[in-house]
Symmetry: C2
Subunit: 530 residues, 2 copies
């Protein structure tokens, strides 16, 4: 009789719990979403901006769907892909002039010649190495290699121009992502940074070496090169509140998510990044020709294959990363063209942080810091300061406090775009919005109209940044890339960026704050803060 | 109407969930426990062992309740304190001979003289230091200090004899625990180990320095000294499966729990350990006279007071521990008498592990390893090997793989008991029972009768190891010290120890396996495996 009661109670509870969970809770949620706050963007009344100005141009030989004037938006709850609808929006389909050869980073012939030399050097090296390995009894997996002049990574390199790393609809980018996800790895090595350290720990600097030392350069069968950053922690681990930004771990998923966000913001200043389950035995240990790298591999007590950072090893094997038993998640970031054919310069961020425990930089204490910067070369003319502000918005959204330097391609001079490299310290704390990252925006009170328009688009329910990010990230094999709290944080932070702009406009007026990088006849209204 | 339905459903669910959780589930549990396996110990048929032999004696001047012969046990589900019932069991109340002066570690006069010298040296130092500090503008908190000849720590030192660190009912031990929990700290410093390293990292050794470097020596107002090990991780964090035992973090709660377990097993070979919320500003930073220690303090981004391991600092501030904002949990272990009056020797454990990635020690590959050990001094006579086996049972229960050395007091010679110091690497993984720790027992097939009897007692539902441990640990201010999975692991592991003994008896017979450290007339039957 007691057991009957038990059974009855359990059944009833199960039925009611299911009802509560699957029917009533979702309804509750939709009620609260329908009646709650959320963004109050007005109707879509943006007319298509004309070509020219500082808007990002489209390369002449790339195909794209010509956008229609006054395109009618689907309602917020319409089915289908929000991401596709976003990319079909007029703002993402601006007609732009042809890019001249001088505006491209590389010329085809020059690049082909450079890579042919690289390939023949590799082939000579392989011949000598195989002989030496046979003598020393080292087994090295040898893969079929082929130099393909149509390879996606070559097309990516050729597509880089003075406006962005790639065009919106360049088919080479999805192909490059696929190649990084699947293609056979033929060799693995330390990165150049690592080699420059020569295995020594530069411990006199607090900033530099910490955590960096597990990234590796992988070479694919078609000679594509990618930087591999292995997973160091689970996605739901939050950075402890006592950690300084400069000792935080690097996160492979942040690297992947940053690429997707940069593309959604239409900056296109982050090289393509794909997630991959790397076999650390077959795709690193067995294909490396570097004795030092081979020496840091070991088998863990749980029989997993692990490797550790050489610099830190002597004291701390805790820093090792391990496969399961050989497979290890990681991010693969496409390499940019070599520095010898496409030199870049690295410039300290004017809003750099103090990399000490107690130090404060001038921008942290002087509210008029931007006035000084505005008078200094190269921030006193052109786009540079606006680009820094774009970067600060990007960093605020991902929560990256570690942007001490930025890089630009030397070829494009002061008007070149800023590369957003090394984003692995983003997405550390979903619950914290570090307002100091937005200092360039809030102190200078300037923003490109094109950037602002896209941010306003992404706050609208029919696109909603978290939704398009979720959808975009879902294409990665390591999905889910971000946890839901991190996705929600993007929406919350986006609102804060827009509020910062609104405060500037209230203080200084629209004309002072919004810089037209479109034609002046472009019609625009700030419904958001009317 | 929909909201009504929602409300009704929510109420019903809440009622049924509460019913399920608080009434039916506990019933279900008790039903399954009643009918399930669990230990099948027979009735309590142990007669009181007589005095003498190698049983632990009671000091003549200590009071204790004389146990009655044939004491009747309360039923398993009786209320009240299981721990008190355990300590009232005849096995824990063996009448023992008077301990002669030569069997005590220290003589009263000798110890008092030694400490009076220490105190006057401290007072001289304080005078000089205060003057120097005033000149250098260093603020040092000065506390009233007093040397109390009745202090609990002095009584603890005086109570150490050739059988154990303290007697079962010594009132000095609970008083010492209280003092360590509450008494004002008058100075803080690195430990001697630390000072021997002189701040240098001995990174050539993989084993030694890792993680050790945050322990500090604290001095109390009455000159008691305790070793402070700060909390490094939350109690529910499990040691990753890929960690080697020698790189695992030290756990302050393991240090506390090990003291309680050792007392419950009646070994009394672990010095008293208490938990304490230490104010790292007021009780460390402001009272230290060591410049090096002062220099490793900093304020974290979350405004907490933190300090880091000097040796590891240069590269890794991740190793810092932080208060909240100043209060930090830690274990305080009572110091043993100084080496100059009570020298100890440190002896490699015959079942030492290889402290390398791939190395294997002989005992791991040779099943007849114990035969060799049995013929070697000092394991070829007396109690030493049985003591090692006791220690392996203790280490197996706490899951400590890091017992590379053991210490004994020189004064007691080869028959002295083994000190179970440094237990902070126990309780790392509740889900794993590392059978290799039991190798001394399973390879030698020997156990003291007194140890076995207590283990058999602790497996019985009326005592149950996890229950008495939970109760004992509940007296610590940092309760809960162990999570429930760790407590359950103790019961499971205890069963495994008894099964290992059972296997030995099946193979070799009781007489070979069980060593009588009681009078031979002691009646005992192995109901557990009959």
């Amino acid at each position: 009789m007691r057991r009957d009661r038990l059974f009855l109670a359990a059944t009833l509870t199960a039925v009611f719990s299911a009802d509560l969970y699957f029917i009533l809770l979702p309804k509750l949620r939709s009620i609260s979403q329908g009646s709650g706050h959320s963004c109050s963007c007005g109707p879509h009344n943006l007319s298509l901006p004309r070509q020219g100005g500082l808007a990002t141009p489209r390369l002449s030989n790339w195909t794209s769907v010509p956008p229609e004037e006054g395109v009618i938006l689907e309602p917020a709850d319409a089915g289908g892909s929000k991401l596709e609808r976003l990319f079909a929006d007029p703002l993402y389909n601006i007609q732009i002039p042809v890019v001249g050869p001088e505006e491209r980073l590389l010329q085809v012939e020059q690049l082909m010649e450079y890579y042919r030399k690289k390939v023949s050097r590799w082939e000579r090296h392989m011949k000598i190495y195989s002989e030496a390995a046979a003598i020393s009894n080292i087994t090295v997996t040898e893969h079929e290699v082929s130099f393909d002049p149509d390879a996606s990574w070559l097309k990516f390199h050729l597509g880089i121009n003075r406006y962005a790393l790639y065009s919106r609809d360049d088919p080479a980018v999805p192909q490059l992502l696929k190649d990084m996800q699947n293609m056979a790895v033929i060799s693995a090595d330390y990165t150049q940074d690592e080699k420059a350290l020569k295995g020594a720990c530069d411990c006199s600097q607090v900033v530099k070496p910490s955590g960096h030392h597990l990234k590796l350069a992988l070479k694919m069968r078609n000679f594509a090169k990618a930087m591999f950053k292995p997973m160091r922690q689970q996605r739901d681990v939050e950075t402890p509140e006592d950690f300084f930004y400069f000792v935080d771990f690097q996160r492979h998923n942040a690297e992947i998510a940053a690429f997707h966000l940069d593309r959604i913001l239409d900056f296109r200043r982050v090289p393509p990044v794909a997630g991959r389950l790397v076999n650390v035995s077959g795709e690193v240990l067995q294909v490396t020709h570097n004795e030092d790298l081979r020496a840091v591999f070991f088998t863990s007590p749980a029989n997993n294959t692990c490797f550790f950072a050489k610099c830190l090893y002597v004291c701390k094997t805790e820093y090792a990363v391990c496969g399961s038993p050989d497979l290890l998640e990681g991010s693969l970031s496409a390499y940019l063209p070599g520095l010898s054919i496409a030199p870049r310069i690295s410039i300290p961020n004017p809003w750099i942080r103090s990399y000490t425990f107690t130090g404060r930089e001038e921008w942290e204490v002087n509210p008029f810091y931007c006035d000084t910067i505005k008078q200094m070369y190269p921030y006193n003319s052109g786009n540079r300061l606006l680009n820094i502000i774009d970067m600060s918005i990007f960093d605020f959204l991902i929560g990256n406090m570690d942007r001490h330097h930025y890089e630009i391609f030397t070829k494009f001079g002061d008007e070149g775009f800023l590369l957003h490299l090394d984003n692995a310290r983003g997405f550390g704390r979903h619950s914290q919005d570090e307002m100091s990252i937005l200092a360039p925006l809030s102190q200078c009170c300037m923003i490109k109209r094109s950037t602002l328009l896209r941010l306003q688009l992404l706050v609208r329910p029919e696109y909603r940044l978290s939704d398009v990010m979720r959808e975009s990230l879902d294409a990665d094999p390591l999905r889910p890339i971000l946890t839901e709290p991190h996705l929600s944080a993007l929406d919350r932070r986006l609102q804060k960026v827009l509020r910062a702009v609104q405060r500037c406009i209230r203080r200084l007026g629209e004309d002072e704050v919004i810089t037209n990088d479109f034609e002046p006849c472009f019609i625009f209204s700030f419904q958001l803060w009317s």
